[in-house]
Symmetry: C2
Subunit: 201 residues, 2 copies
């Protein structure tokens, strides 16, 4: 990581699987994978132990990779009721770990993340995974989806941060460039609306 890059830890909060992804994003908005993983807690552990497992896992990633900022997915009450409370609790843990490490934290909604990464706020998980793999020049799609979502969150945060201003590239973000390339290669019409591409700036 150089002074010209922003290292972001993205966290897709969850009790059973908590996605964590660290990326370095340069001023020209290009991005490099630093770390990706999933912190798991045992379903039959008591809730307080599960949250402690998540906290320990996130603290280990912070200690090892030294992000400058933590981005956490914002959880809404109207989501899947059976798991939303655990997800909210895990998100609280993620934010606490950030604060106690002296790091700023930010939350982004799923549609903000999808719009920043794919140019389309209603993109499906596969589209997000594909774009994350393309932007980070990965040979395979990041698995599981929680890991890809964590990377997407980190990219979203970096690209939405004003300090990381757009540079070369015809005014396109890496996501938009990759998307345009993918489209030009594609034989079939894209299923994704392009009328509302957001730069994430």
């Amino acid at each position: 990581m150089t002074s010209r890059t922003l290292r972001v830890l993205g966290i897709d909060p969850g009790l059973t699987r908590c996605g964590v992804g660290v990326v370095d994003v340069a001023r020209d908005r290009s991005a490099t994978l630093v770390h990706v993983g999933v912190i798991r807690s045992a379903v039959d552990d008591p809730i307080e132990r599960r949250l402690a497992t998540i906290a320990a896992g996130i603290r280990a990633v912070v200690a090892e990779h030294g992000p400058a900022v933590v981005a956490v997915e914002r959880v809404f009450a109207q989501h899947n009721r059976s798991t939303v409370m655990g997800t909210a609790q895990a998100s609280g843990i993620a934010l606490l770990v950030a604060a106690e490490a002296g790091l700023p934290a930010a939350t982004h909604t799923p549609s903000e993340v999808k719009a920043a990464v794919t140019g389309y706020g209603a993109a499906d998980k596969r589209q997000v995974q594909t774009m994350v793999a393309r932007v980070l020049r990965l040979d395979a799609l990041p698995q599981p989806a929680d890991a890809a979502d964590a990377l997407a969150l980190a990219l979203c945060h970096a690209w939405r941060t004003p300090a990381s201003t757009p540079a070369a590239g015809g005014g396109l973000t890496p996501a938009q460039r990759a998307w345009a390339e993918a489209e030009s290669r594609s034989k079939s019409p894209t299923r994704v609306a392009r009328t509302k591409i957001r730069t994430g700036a």
Copy 2:
């Protein structure tokens, strides 16, 4: 605290006001107030700082009073939408602090707490405050309601714990005894149904 008492920390989770109450509960189910308070976080602080303030406050209570167990109110998604996510995050923090202090934690629903303390699962806040004050022999009602709720949670947990078996008192819990006494003193008919008194055992 003697070996015959159980020291319980009850936590009514919240971002703006997080109630904390510590009680010693004896084998005969009588209870003594050890500590009661409210941890506040500033509404205009970033969420991660607010959660860190809550965590620090709970850790301080644990360190000072050494509870044997932590009881936290269970949060439901269908509650007040505007604050439920913050409440869920604060409850996650409370559970994490318990686990990291090596303490067991338990959650109880609001109606379980009301039933254990007042004998009536739909009791209102005033009834809960009144019973908490009576059981703990307080001169005034605990204020604010969050503090009373935290004490009620702690009492609920102790009384529902099998180790704290019923002893003398005609088979009545202290809550039931106090309730019966209050009723016998009352000139007006009680508004509270008594047909479904739960012992909390």
